[in-house]
């Protein structure tokens, strides 16, 4: 199983991490490196695009939570793009839907960051 990660700027203050594949105990360290790298470079508003993620487990959720904790220390946010019902269900049952902004599109996520 692999995860493809691409990072781009949405604007001066916000970057988008686009993930394609599956996030599990094997691939989540790579996602963690991507999130940490952005934060270390001073980007504190991050949109993580999960639209093409087919699967996420607790280690993946842990990476997202860790990233959110770090950016909040700098007044930032992590917003998620997620329109896969099965992935969304995981956020619902863990209660994480209450701490992440979860949106259907990048435009909606960007609007919420303004």
């Amino acid at each position: 199983m692999e995860i493809k990660i691409s990072i781009r700027k949405a604007n001066d203050a916000t970057s988008v991490i686009e993930l394609v594949g599956e996030i599990d105990v094997y691939t989540s360290p790579k996602v963690k490196d991507a999130v940490s790298g952005l934060i270390d470079s001073g980007i504190y508003n991050i949109i993580i695009d999960l639209a093409q993620v087919k699967y996420i487990d607790s280690t993946g959720l842990g990476v997202l939570i860790g990233g959110l904790k770090r950016v909040r220390e700098h007044g930032g946010s992590v917003h998620l793009i997620c329109n896969n019902p099965q992935i969304r269900k995981i956020f619902d049952i863990t209660g994480l839907v209450k701490i992440f902004g979860i949106f259907d599109t990048e435009e909606a996520a960007l609007r919420a960051l303004k």
Partner: protein, 137 residues
Amino acid sequence: MTGSDSIELAIPRRAEYVAVARLSVAAIAGRLRFSIEDVEDVKLAVAEACTGAIARGSQLGGRIELLFEGGDEALHVRVVAFAPLSDLQELRGDHGQGPRIGALGSYLIRALMDEVRYEKGSHGALDLIMSKRQQFV
């Protein structure tokens, strides 16, 4: 797969093999005619069990053994030597205060499966036993 069939799977106790268990149980649940949503639930629960077994069971041998059995319109999964016996209190949630290993994973297993329990297995360690019933619409 009929109701009484059973399947055994052993994978190395390493992260890169969790996907093998995940995909295997998806095929088994599909054979039992579980709904797509229930297949996804079982996949995640088994993956979380394997992830927990990796985190907790490094001293319990280099392999994770999984036993799958279909019966009573349910899928039963036993993860052999999931954790050391000393983890029982923590796994049952009566460990008091303090951080727990894989708490989110354990929570997901309980949320996604219909029955979850731990029992002393033949290897002197804790087995994790979990079941998912078929939903008939």
